[in-house]
């Protein structure tokens, strides 16, 4: 099967039922995308499929065939996506483990609505857990990055 991830085409021999998460991590060695629950309950594995946020741990790789997959490594060429900059400005990450998923989810939100309201942020981000409790800084960083839109 052919898979396009971050603009690079890969030809893979893989069972189509395999979750996209494990193909990205174990086969393509793009390790920025994290495993947290495997059941679409935490958001750590969030990537974009044609620009929309999906939970890669429950997305069979077959569903990504012929579509554009973007991972945290492809969010920006040099880490300067407005959200990445805002994350650094606001000192968001603690352990950092959830943050790739948070960023990917937030990036899809900004692409969709431009400058979200606080309620829109809360609703869109409710599926992304952060056990370290960085939610208030994430919220502030998204609102901040959204302002520039």
């Amino acid at each position: 099967m052919k898979l396009v991830v971050n603009g690079v085409e890969h030809t893979l021999d893989v069972d189509g039922e395999t979750p996209l998460l494990w193909v990205i991590r174990d086969r393509l060695r793009l390790t920025g995308t994290k495993y947290g629950c495997g059941e679409a309950l935490c958001g750590a594995c969030t990537v974009h499929l044609d620009g929309h946020a999906v939970r890669s741990c429950v997305t069979p790789v077959a569903r990504a065939e012929g579509r554009r997959v973007t991972t945290i490594e492809g969010l920006s060429p040099d880490g300067t996506h407005p959200l990445q900059l805002a994350w650094e400005r606001h000192g968001v990450p603690q352990c950092g483990y959830c943050q790739a998923g948070q960023l990917m989810n937030a990036a899809a939100l900004l692409d969709e609505v431009g400058a979200p309201t606080e309620e829109q942020v809360d609703r869109a981000m409710a599926g992304n857990l952060c056990r370290c409790g960085t939610y208030l800084r994430i919220r502030a960083a998204i609102l901040d990055a959204g302002k520039g839109r």
């Binding site: 395999t18 979750p19 494990w22 991590r25 174990d26 086969r27 060695r29 793009l30 390790t31 920025g32 995308t33 994290k34 495993y35 947290g36 629950c37 495997g38 059941e39 309950l41 935490c42 750590a44 991972t71 945290i72 490594e73 969010l75 880490g79 990445q84 994350w87 650094e88 000192g91 968001v92 990450p93 603690q94 352990c95 950092g96 483990y97 959830c98 943050q99 790739a100 960023l103 606080e118 942020v121 809360d122 609703r123 981000m125 409710a126 599926g127 992304n128 857990l129 952060c130 056990r131 370290c132 409790g133 960085t134 939610y135 208030l136 800084r137 994430i138 919220r139």
Partner: protein, 726 residues
Amino acid sequence: MTTRRAFLLGLAASGLLAVATPSGAWAAPADFVPHAWIRVSADGTVALTCHRSEMGQGVRSSLPALLAYELGADPARIEVVQADGDPAYGDQDTDGSRSVRTQQDLMRRLGAVGRIVLERVGARRLGVPVAAVTSRDHAVWHEPSGRGVPFGDLATEAAAEPLPDRVTLRADPPASGWDLPLVDAHAQVTGAARYVADIVLEGQCTAVIVRPPVLGSSVVSFDDTEARAVPGVVDVIELPAPSGPPGFQPLGGVAVVAEDTWTAKRAAERLRVTWSQSPHDGASWTQDLAAMREAVARPGTARRTRGDAEGALGSAAKRLDATYVVPHLAHAALEPPCAVARRTEDGCEVWASTQTPQAARSMVAEVLGLDEAKVTVHVPFLGAAFGRKSKPDFAVEAALLADRVRRPVRVQWLREDAMRQGYVHACSVQRLEAGLDGDGRLVAWRHRIASPTIASTFGDAHELRDSELGQGIGDQPLEVPALSVETHPVQERLRIGWMRSVYNINHAFAIQSFLDELAHARDTTLPDLLKEVYGPPRRYTPEEAGAEIWNYGASLDEHPIDVGRYHRVIDRVRALSRWDEPAPEGRARGFAVHRSFLTYVAVVVELSRGTRGGPRLERAWVVADPGRIVNRDRVRAQLEGAVVFGATVALHGRLTLEDGRVREGNFHDYRLLRMNEAPRSIDVELITEGEPHGGVGEPGVPPVAPAIANAWFALTGERVRELPLT
């Protein structure tokens, strides 16, 4: 430049100078490496070592910043090197909220060693006396002439210099700390930060382990036909059952080793394992809870006695009696335990998400029968830990499997494994009784506790230890003439371990809730009552307590129980939250204060009813007095995170047992607070007036749950005596 203090180093004696190199390509011959914490290279790079595990608390910013401060390096330009597990670094156990407290002095002395040598060489180069130079911004300067030499240009010469055997420290850093750059933020937001699961070695395979579902049971037999039939399975291996108390040992079970994670997981689901019987078969939370409730109805082992509590309760004009329950809780760090091991010809190399790399190293050496010197333990970023990763069982699993398979193996705990087979936070049932005299004064206090001890994980112990009671009970400065603290033995069903804030969570919940009940009975508010029952500002001493006071391993001279500091955080949070003004329509506030890990924290939480009728967090105010701090923004971040962690304790956290097994498995049945449930604002105020460093990572948590429960009572009139609230 007032308080310059001279220190005898004693470094050689403690062996610290003997440390060779933290990682492979640490030093070139031309580098200046006075010891394992500093490397100045000829190209100007200044690399500083962090020997504690980074798990989100920012230790890779704070400890190196102290080294940099004394060295004269610019903290924005240093490279931080993560130390492997090696006793030569001294204590590397990253727990107890004490990395800065116990290591700051050492970091400063080590930094000063480097500075003294560089200044000596720099002065020579500049042709001025050594007293006329200072180091700052990666260079040695002669300020009067404005001339300076970069550290890099001095490295080779410095490398040949003898080290000083005495150092003078700079003036103390500001008590209120610095705003330091977050060294790893860029890596974290680009996906470049490496956690253990991101380590990929040539030929590496992945293991998923099916562990005994009930503590104390082990593998009788297993059928792996179906598992082995899954393409990509490398091997199926039975792991040895632990012997004796659990300790840090792996639980045993059967491992499926496969070419990739998904294959390992699917094949593990196809294993058929028969487990032996366990004394815990059939155990349930409902029954255990009933037994603990029943226990606290009776007198227990007297642990602390002042006056005649029984008599004083009997003759009190008014009596209050309430029982509080905290269930078992899960750490639920977002990164489940994970380790990678590679068996080398005569040793073993391990990467582990561990808070205790030295314990991991000795255990791996022991199970493989290797000399410790042949075992290397690397510590990548931890995807948070909260105490779970103080137990290196998963590193041992990886080492055992790598030894058997003779290929590098990554052991990946699944979320369900982490939830069901970890080291849980101890449940607790506490009955509190208070007697008031005719004027409403507190004259009697009885506290009965049934709660499993962490010591049960390490031996035959079933009753709380003094150090566990010391977390929020023995150190409560209660002014009450008759007092009794009693404990009951409890049959533990799970491996009990440290979780962020540990027993303080349970004790603060019961005591601060009960005092709130008392305040309502007295028609006063909690902050006023607290100041009354804690008494006037003073040092609460063992003499007054009539008992030893456990103090987190710190001396009471350096870290007294200072009732004045309780008063101060109480007053400040009261002002910050405008406690004395009515809450906005439809909202109510709750209060709590707690000292733990030598730090005083007072919290106010404002709640409303959410759309489904349950509590909705609106705002939180936190005033913390941790004494001196280093990394100001990270201290704030820890306290913000503590509100969220504490809110999960209050609203969602609960592990239950059925048929000896933990029922909850993933985040649908063990919920964590979500962004849409988090408060709109958390205002943090820090009091840093120069008292010695207290802890930061943990003390923010304990007052949160009682503040929420107290707010819920203020809002609804319903008293929460059993967590979680929803």
